[in-house]
């Protein structure tokens, strides 16, 4: 059986070379640490950026949705007039923020924040990345939340106000909980997008997961293995996140009546 014999030899050689490459990429000099440390940085940046994004997104969304649904008819005097003025300015700034952030690439925003805005401070790269991705994500979250708020029947706001709740209380107790349930899938999706977007952090020489794989590639001159490893890790994290979002969604839906 010469055929099987030669296949066996080929297979042994192939296996040996794979094992050697694997050893070179991940085991030798503890290179797996680049991936592990990189993953931790990626998760850290994504986690804190999400928090900034959600807080910022909700604030901007509430200003925008309130502005779009307010009644500016009737004359205003004194404090009410001043309130309207402040409100107009706030709405204008929110609109500007949304336009600029959604109209420019996130890499450019990251570079500007690190090399321009924080140029004269010795700021931690992780912090710069958290701020850049948080501010970026906030713009997308804001539009998701705004559409969620606008999708709630306006009778809900009127019912809340007619009981005597003020605007903020009605938003907090009545509108936002309902909107949140509706937008959860879109928010979950936004977090997954954000996690993947942090892969450009290497532009400010931040050692995230992607950068970790790239460092291994540079040291070993082996591209396939470290890059596939990076891709697999992202995929695994994204799948865990999606499963989590799905579970939360199901739980919320089962309490939906």
């Amino acid at each position: 059986m010469p055929m099987t014999e030669s296949f066996k030899v080929w297979f042994m050689e192939w296996y040996a070379s794979i094992a050697q490459k694997f050893y070179g990429c991940f085991i030798e000099d503890e290179r797996w640490r680049f991936l592990w440390d990189g993953l931790l940085v990626t998760l850290e940046v994504a986690f804190f950026a999400v928090i900034i994004g959600v807080v910022l997104g909700f604030l901007v969304a509430i200003v925008r949705a309130s502005y779009d649904t307010s009644d500016f008819s009737g004359k205003a005097t004194g404090w009410r007039r001043l309130g309207r003025g402040v409100f107009r300015v706030a709405n204008w700034f929110c609109k500007l923020y949304l336009t600029v952030i959604r109209g420019t690439p996130v890499v450019v925003q990251l570079l500007i924040i690190y090399f321009v805005i924080f140029a004269s401070f010795d700021v931690d790269k992780v912090l710069a990345a958290v701020i850049a991705f948080g501010v970026n994500s906030g713009a997308y979250v804001a539009e998701i939340v705004r559409s969620g708020i606008m999708s709630i029947d306006k009778g809900q706001m009127e019912a809340g106000r007619s009981l005597g709740f003020n605007y903020i209380q009605t938003m907090w107790y009545i509108i936002v909980p309902q909107a949140f349930k509706n937008i959860l899938p879109a928010l979950g999706n936004e977090f997954i997008v954000l996690l993947k977007e942090t892969s450009v952090s290497g532009y400010i020489a931040l050692g995230d997961l992607t950068k970790g794989g790239d460092i291994i590639r540079g040291r070993t001159f082996e591209a396939l293995m470290p890059l596939f490893a990076v891709a697999l890790i992202y995929l695994a994290v994204v799948m865990v996140l999606s499963a989590g979002v799905n579970k939360l969604e199901r739980r919320l839906r089962s309490s939906d009546h």
């Binding site: 004194g78 709740f165 909980p177």
Partner: protein, 245 residues
């Protein structure tokens, strides 16, 4: 002074752009009175009702509640609204909360009632409308008639001085109209001050102390149900009544 009006409306106007939804309304409402407002679609009935608790901000005029002009910027609108319950055509229950929570949220947060006290009060009111067994249900599990009865007692939990009803039975299947009107009639009997926009002429005849007919943003005619239905003075009133009776 028992004749002092609880609510007095003077020269009230509400314009939406060039549309004059209210074109100068003068009105006085006394405590314990049940006023029914009727009129064709678009005549401004809802706008008038919603102006009374400032869900619409009037363009011009004054609304005095116990002598205080609520259009004065210094008046606390939220406190005013606590004293004016409102029931909507489409119930507007909070779908993410149980019936009990729908009823206790505002008294707990705004009147600072204890959970126990708010719950006790809510259960007492639920009992009155025969829905005590639905306390832990969600709005979507109720029929339209049940939802509207809940909406009424939810408003009552705030101990309002006045109740506003905007076509409370118009979204209901015919067989459920009666159960809601019964609750409203009982409320009237207990002396609640009520302003009701409705197409239920039977309710107007039986329960109202006063009937107001509106058309094109104006009060065209008003009177006691007896004189109003028996001898309508205005041609437009007669025309409208001939269509609905």
């Amino acid at each position: 002074m028992t004749t002092e009006a609880l609510i007095r409306v003077e020269g009230l106007k509400k314009h939406f752009g060039s549309l004059k939804a209210l074109d100068g309304i003068d009105l006085e409402l006394r405590k314990g009175e049940v006023t029914v407002i009727i009129g064709p679609s678009g005549s401004g009935k809802s706008t008038l009702l919603r102006s009374l608790n400032l869900l619409e901000r009037p363009t011009e005029g004054a609304i005095y509640f116990e002598g205080v002009n609520i259009l004065d910027p210094k008046t606390n609108i939220n406190l005013h609204r606590q004293r004016m319950g409102m029931v909507f055509q489409h119930f507007n229950l909070f779908p993410h909360m149980t019936i009990l929570r729908n009823m206790t949220l505002a008294p707990m947060k705004l009147l600072h009632e204890t959970p126990a006290a708010a719950t006790e009060e809510a259960m007492r009111l639920l009992d009155r409308v025969g829905l005590q067994d639905r306390a832990n249900a969600y709005p979507s599990q109720l029929s339209g008639g049940q939802k509207q009865r809940i909406a009424i007692v939810r408003a009552l939990c705030m101990h309002p001085d006045v109740m506003l009803f905007d076509e409370p039975t118009s979204a209901l299947d015919p067989e459920m109209v009666g159960e809601v009107l019964d609750v409203m009639q009982n409320l009237a009997r207990e002396g609640m001050t009520m302003i009701v926009v409705t197409h239920e002429m039977g309710f107007a005849k039986e329960v109202a102390n006063r009937v107001i007919f509106m058309d094109e943003g104006l009060i065209v005619e008003e009177g006691t149900p007896k004189e109003f239905f028996a001898h309508p003075q205005n041609a437009r009133t007669r025309d409208f009544l001939s269509k609905v009776l």
